[in-house]
Structures are given as C-alpha cells and as structure tokens.
C-alpha cells in the first residue's frame, strides 16, 4: 500500500516536471522584463510536407502531413522556434535540478528546438513503435549516437559546454531538431506568434541574442533599470531557399 502511494507520488512528480519543461524557467521574484517579437522580411522558403510512408506506424499518427520546420512562420511575418537569450551580462547561474524532456513521437522531435542549460539533465524519450537512433551532431561537446528501439527506457544525458547542436535520426532522415545549450537561465523560444519573454532580469546591461536555425544570430543591447519592462524586436532577412 505504501509502495502504491509512493509510485503515485513519483508519477505525479514526473508529470509536474514534464509540464514545466516547455515553459521558460521560473524567474526569481521581481526584476526587469524584456518582451518582443521575432519577424522576417522578404520571402522565406516554403516548408515542405514530409513523406513518412516508409514508416507506417508514424505516418498513421498524422491526419495531415507534418511539415518541415526549419523556417516556421506565422501570420504577420512572425517566426517560430527562434531562441532569444542573454548572451552577455548575465551573472551566470547553476543549472536547475529538473531535467528537460525531449520526445520522439510520430517520428518528430518534440519540441523541435529545445533550449537547456549547461550541465542540466536531459531526458530523451522514444514514444514510437519504431526504433530511432538519436544522433546529436555536437562539435564543441562530444558527439555520440545511440540506438533507442521502441519501448526503451529514456536516455539520460547532459552537455557541459554551450552549443547549438543539430539533432538527427539517421533511420528517419526527415527528423531534425536542435538542442540549444546555454550558459544562462534567461532564455525563451518564440511561439507561433513570434513572441518571446525574458523575465526576472536583475538591473544591468545585457546583450540579447536571437538565434534561428537557418538564418543565424542577431544581437541587440538592452539596459534594464529596476523592475522596468522593455520591448525589443528582431527581424531576420528571409532567404528564398
């Protein structure tokens, strides 16, 4: 009976942890805020539907074909999956104890772009009925490549250096994602509306960087005094290919 209680509690704890995953880490009370939008100018390349017919167990999970995500746009020329983070001026912080979760589901990576901190635990799940090989193509950190057949336990790992790491599955070549390993706890990934929000910034002068997997990085300086809120927008020049 005690055991059952324990497992229920443990399950609840795991559920809670996984719910926090995709949100920006909890900021300390107070502090400044930087919000804004990431947009593009010009004509970006059209995303293509992915043919998963070679993997029927994944294909049947999607009523409409999954689109490629390397330039995900929204109404009003907004850009999704852009990581906005403090690249300079941050005092630094230790990694939170909770792990971030990365899922392979329907032969997609969820989320497509996963920001995490240096030394933070990373848990990789395979929810599919098929084998995946998870192959983060790290250059600064060690590069590894592991098989994860259906029903395998999660792979626990972490990265010790900041890096944008492309992730791929060689068995399913359409699967592409990113681990964005950062030295800061102040980061945000733009949603469908291109918006981001960095909260809990102590007063100071910061360099803000926006990173898009195809278009690279942009930086802006921002100075925060007291608990003020600042608005900073980024605009990338879209490439037609």
């Amino acid at each position: 009976m005690r055991l059952t209680h324990f497992s229920a509690a443990a399950l609840a704890a795991i559920a809670c942890t996984s719910m926090v995953m995709f949100a920006t880490p909890k900021p300390p009370a107070g502090g400044g805020t930087v919000t804004g939008k990431v947009t593009y100018t010009g004509t970006p390349a059209k995303m293509k539907p992915i043919d998963m017919s070679k993997e029927p167990t994944c294909a049947k999970q999607h009523a409409t074909p999954v689109m490629t995500q390397n330039v995900t746009t929204g109404p009003g020329n907004t850009l999704q999956w852009v990581v906005v983070y403090i690249s300079a001026g941050d005092q630094g912080s230790t990694a939170p104890s909770q792990a971030v979760k990365y899922e392979q589901k329907g032969c997609e990576y969820l989320p497509h772009v996963l920001p995490l901190q240096v030394s933070q635990q990373l848990q990789i799940f395979n929810d599919d009925q098929t084998s995946h090989n998870i192959h983060p193509l790290a250059k600064v950190n060690p590069e590894w490549n592991k098989s994860q057949p259906a029903g395998s336990p999660p792979i626990d790992t972490k990265y010790e250096k900041a890096e944008f790491i492309p992730v791929k599955c060689n068995i399913h070549p359409w699967m592409h994602g990113y681990f964005v390993v950062l030295n800061t706890s102040h980061y945000s990934v733009t949603g469908e509306d291109g918006s981001f929000s960095l909260t809990g910034l102590p007063p100071g002068k910061y360099t803000l960087t926006a990173w898009q997997e195809q278009y690279g990085t942009q930086t802006q300086e921002v100075t925060i005094a007291g608990n003020e809120s600042k608005s900073v927008n980024f605009s990338f020049k879209a490439l037609p290919y």
Partner: protein, 302 residues
C-alpha cells in the same frame, strides 16, 4: 602461404609508403618554406601507452610529417593535399571523434584503439595498414595524434567495453540474432539481406555531411574496425562515432549481442564461417518457415 601473404602485405605497405610519403617529401624540399606542421602545438609532451611501449609525441611529429600529412593535413583536420581525391575523407583529428573504439559512444578511445586502427588500416578507404612501421613508431604516432585536440588533456578515455566469453554457435542463437536484426531495425540501413540497401541507406551522411554507405555484409569479409567475432561485437556495442551507426550498448543485454554477431556472420555469404554453414543447413530444411526480414515482417508481427 604465410610468406606470400607477408609479401603481399609488405608490398601494399610499401606502395602506401611511396604514395603517402611522396607529398611531404616534396614539401620539405623547399628549404625556406615554413615548417608544414606550424599548426601543431609547439610543446609535444603527450605520451601514449600501448602495453609496455611508451609513445612520444615529439617523435610522432616527424613520422606524421613523413607518412600522414599528405591526407590528414598540416593542421590535423583531414584536409591534406590528397584529401580532395579521397572518399571517405581522412579523419579530422581536431574533433577527436573516432570510429573504432572499445569505449562508449561520445568518449575518447584508448591508446590501444588508436594503435590498432593505425596497425590495421581501414578497408574500403585510402587508409592503409601501417604494419611496416615499427611498433614504437606506431605508438609515437598515437601520442602525436592526441596533440591535435584539447580534449585529450581534459578528458580520459571511456571505460573499455567488457566482452563476455562467446557462447557456442547454435541455430537458436542465430535465429534470435535474426529477430534482433529485425526488431532493432538494422535492416533499415543495412538492408533485409545485409546488402547495404535498406530504405534509409541512400539518405545517409556522416557528421560532416558527406554521403556514406552502410556496410554491405554480402561482399565483405572484414570490417573497418576488425575482422573477428569480438570485433563485430565491439562495433555495434560502441557504435561508429561520426557516422550514422549508433551504439546499441544500452539496448542489448545478456547474450543478445553474441546472438546478433552469430546472425551477422550468416549475411557474409562470401566469407565461410561456422555460422553460415549452420544457417545454410537450416534454410535447406526449414526454408518455408523463415519469415522475410523487412517491413512486411514487421506488419505480420503486429
């Protein structure tokens, strides 16, 4: 027989020496040109330990200049003057990512692993066997190769894979290995019959985005990382880093790896083995009961 084999190896080695030695020799003939190894660290205190041998990087540097620089380049990044003609590309030592390791994926190999790679060479590539060099020279080269990446100063090689004693080759072991080949989806790259023609094969690239082919078991006898059953065991357990071939260390337990080794031998139809004999006998008597490997079999299993 032995002597003719020896002569063949020696002859091959000599050709390699000539071909690969030629480039740096010409480079050195320009008396006033700067040291082609200026990119290398100036202090080479790195050592290697192979059994009772100790290799010294400073010695290895001279050997590298003579034998390796043509392909692996003056900066150790695999961009030597011959590299443009070579596929697969020469190893980039600055990344410290190595294919043939006894250590887990993502970790540094042991000195012995590097020594074995230099000694064995890599089949289906331009990297010859460097057996014509003395053991000491090969050890010195291992020490020098480790000066190209700062990882060697900061990290230790991973724990060496422990390979348990090989169980007897039985048809049960082969059949279980075959199930694993289906279940782990090895066939998606290596093909249902191991011809290297699985559905994902044509899409594969290495970590530098160069196209790469999965191993074709039907034409091969040796592998890049060795030729024995123990070598096969080690290859899929530790993975071939820098390529699409992942590590199966976390997924295979008990005798599973050995069963898979025994099955893989049956795919090597041009390499006589006990496994192949046993399998061919089984196919002759039970051919009708054998389900094909591949997507159809997966559908049938559900």
């Amino acid at each position: 027989m032995i002597s003719s084999k020896f002569v063949a190896t020696f002859a091959l080695g000599s050709i390699a020496l000539l071909t690969f030695g030629a480039a740096p020799a010409t480079a050195q003939s320009h008396v006033n040109s700067p040291d082609p190894l200026l990119g290398a660290p100036s202090v080479n205190t790195e050592e290697s330990h192979i059994g009772t041998l100790t290799g010294h990087a400073e010695e290895g540097k001279h050997l590298y200049r003579r034998y390796c620089i043509g392909c692996h380049g003056p900066d150790g990044d695999g961009n030597g003057m011959n590299a443009q003609w070579i596929d697969p590309k020469p190893r980039d030592f600055t990344e410290a990512t190595f294919k043939c390791r006894s250590t887990p994926t993502g970790t540094l190999p042991t000195d012995q692993d590097l020594y074995n790679a230099i000694t064995r060479g890599f089949i289906n590539t331009n990297m010859p066997s460097w057996k014509p060099l003395t053991e000491q020279q090969r050890a010195d080269l291992v020490a020098f190769i480790k000066t190209w990446s700062p990882r060697w100063a900061k990290e230790k090689p991973g724990d060496v894979l422990v390979i348990p004693a090989e169980p007897p080759v039985t048809i049960e072991s082969i059949l279980h290995g075959r199930e694993l080949f289906q279940k782990l989806e090895c066939w998606k790259c290596h093909g249902p019959a191991g011809h290297g023609d699985g559905p994902s094969a044509a899409t594969l690239t290495d970590s530098k985005d160069n196209p790469i082919r999965p191993y074709n078991f039907s034409t091969g006898t040796r592998f890049k990382c060795g030729a024995t059953n123990q070598d096969i065991y080690r290859i899929f357990m530790t993975g071939v880093d820098g390529t699409p071939m992942p590590s199966f260390h976390d997924t295979l337990t008990g005798n599973d790896p050995w069963d898979l080794v025994h099955f893989l031998r049956t795919l090597q139809i041009s390499y006589p083995s006990k496994e192949l004999d046993l399998w061919q006998g089984y196919v002759a008597s039970h051919g009708k009961d054998i389900k094909p490997i591949g997507p159809d079999s997966a559908a049938g299993a559900q």
